[in-house]
Amino acid sequence: MPETIIEKIEVKRLQILYENGNVDESLMPDLSDNDLKKMFELFILARQFDQRALKLHAEGRLGTYASILGQEASQIGSAYTLEKSDRVFPSFREMGVYITLGYPIWMLFQYWTGDERGMRTPDDLNIFPVSVPVGTHTPHAVGAAFAAKIKGHKTATAAYFGDGGSSKGDFHEGLNIAGVYKLPVIFICQNNQWAISLPREKQTAAKTIAQKAFGYGFEGIQVDGNDIFAVYKATKDALAKARAGSGPTLIECFTYRMADHTTADDASRYRSKEDVEKWKARDPLLRLKLYMERKGLWTQQYEDEVKKRVTDFVDSEIKKHEAAAMPEQKDILNFTYKELTQRQKKELETL
């Protein structure tokens, strides 16, 4: 057997909810009407948050902001499966994840105003602060999963990152270590086809991001990232596997960044309108609505009610945020170490 095949790998893609609102019943996860409505309402809330953040930015009331438009199914569908005790390590474009986990909305506005206090996660949540250096937080999720395993906790951890994040060395080192120690961690890649101006094909020559997992000895799967049920199912399965001690999973959510990279970007410089148009038909909310309508769970009136409620809520959160006191100068020093250093004590007096 001179030239033998010693390993065979198959990369799967999962899809449940189609653009026309049909679902594949054989794969459809068990979701109550209540779950569906919650998901829908989270969708409206996430979009409302996103639009308002963009508006506040335009008015000079918020800093640089990264829109999640188009990626809500990937974020809500996956975060919906997480327990509050699970450790979540987001990148910077995961406001839908924060919102699904119940993070205070006003604090998210606070954060995007350039205020660290917005990232002081409430005690009952275990979501980590935004990681700005792309891809570098994947090892943190691995370390937390390692800690949970050492302590014998049933906690799982999740790292969120983009297609760009998959190119960083830390992605590689983190996933490889997770594979070796079979850690309870899931890696959720939102492949939104762009890393600022770099299209997915130039990010890596691999056909899928999912297949990178096999280089670390565990499974990767691609899901339609605009299909909230596929995302939900893949994440739920991966979490169950993690909790059962069967190791990590990489989930590639195949989706699209509908907006500019951030408010500092102008995507028209590098991508065509047609490209974006194509994806409008694949809107993740639209197909959820079609499905719910068929099930008698969606009416225009219901949507209007939800929208009104959510708008009022976000209004009040913005007020809450804008009414909060400015951060204090001394906090620049106060949070460097647990205790002030000899020098910091003197510096404090100069502020």
Partner: protein, 319 residues
């Protein structure tokens, strides 16, 4: 000659060096079609489609690939999108770029430029405001350059590209579009390892670089200050500094970076060693706080404000 800002001046330097020398190539994230997040490379990929390369999101890879290109004989100019992301390249810069000449006893060299926007000033997200130039100054084999104006940005970048050794070229984001200046169309090189006396004076030598130079210039009214723009931080121009200090006998050093082990420490230690007898007052460093750089809302309280500089100037005069 046209009045242009620093973004345009850097763009011009890149274009002219690329026209002149086919070995100059650019790599980095979004440097192609997008023209870079600050538009530094705008229009260049259209002119040099075969010599400008958008890379995957991989800073260590960018630096490492640039090292390999340089060793082969190209003169790569790599862009790191913000200085906060250069930490991923430290191994490539410190363990390779800086040592290839020494390691191979001159057979291989590393004529590489790593450009990166640096410093506070645009109220961006976390890690977009770093000014850790001192780290790179501590590594022999690397040169560190910080321009302070459109004019010197062009001339210094041209020298950096032509330099036979690796140069870390730190571009103060605050200055990118703040100042316009007459910049000659013709190419010109400003030598490295040479400081610039921005203004002569006889009472105090004030040393700064990059964006703090401008804050210094706003603060010296009423003082007879000699202002030095260091421009090349490593290796730095010992002679120009000493000559000035011997004349004035008083020194204030201003930088944005945190105080502890900042580049001001090196300058202060050096001057005190070499010119102690000439000093009429202790050397004062005016620096960023000993703390993690805050996000936008507190950003203005981190770096030295004008008042702090004025206070230091008064202090050395009244000593």
């Amino acid at each position: 000659m046209a009045r242009i800002n620093m973004v345009q001046a850097i763009n011009l330097a890149l274009r002219q060096e690329m026209e002149k020398d086919r070995d100059v190539v650019l790599i980095g994230e979004d440097v192609g079609r997008d023209g870079g997040v600050f538009r530094i490379t705008e229009g260049l990929v259209e002119k040099f489609p075969d010599r400008i390369f958008d890379t995957p999101l991989a800073e260590s890879g960018i630096a490492g690939v640039a090292v390999g290109m340089a060793a082969y004989g190209l003169k790569p100019v790599a862009e790191i999108q913000f200085m906060g992301f250069i930490y991923a390249c430290v191994e490539q810069i410190f363990s390779h770029a800086s040592r290839i000449r020494s390691r191979s006893r001159g057979r291989y060299t590393c004529p590489l430029v790593i450009r990166t926007p640096y410093g506070l000033g645009i109220k961006p997200p976390e890690l977009h405001s770093e000014s850790t130039e001192a780290l790179f100054c501590h590594m022999p084999g690397i040169k560190v350059v910080v321009p302070s104006s459109p004019y010197n940005a062009k001339g210094l970048l041209i020298s950096a590209i032509r330099d036979p050794d690796p140069v870390v070229f730190l571009e103060p984001t605050r200055l990118y579009r703040l100042i316009k200046e007459e910049v000659p169309e013709t190419e010109y090189a400003i030598p490295l390892e040479k400081a610039r006396i921005v203004q002569e004076g006889k009472d105090i030598t004030v040393i700064a670089w990059g964006s703090m130079l401008h804050r210094v210039l706003e603060s010296i009214e009423g003082f007879d200050a000699e202002v030095i723009d260091l421009m090349t931080l490593s290796p730095y121009d010992e002679e120009t500094i000493l000559n000035s200090v011997k004349k004035t006998g008083r020194v204030v050093i201003v930088h944005e970076a945190t105080r502890n082990c900042g580049f001001g420490a090196e300058l202060s230690a050096f001057i005190a060693e070499e010119a102690m007898l000439h000093l009429k007052s202790p050397i004062v460093r005016v620096t960023g706080l000993d703390a993690v750089i805050p996000m936008a809302r507190l950003e203005d309280y981190y770096a030295p404000a004008k008042e702090k500089i004025v206070k230091a100037l008064k202090k050395v005069m009244e000593y």
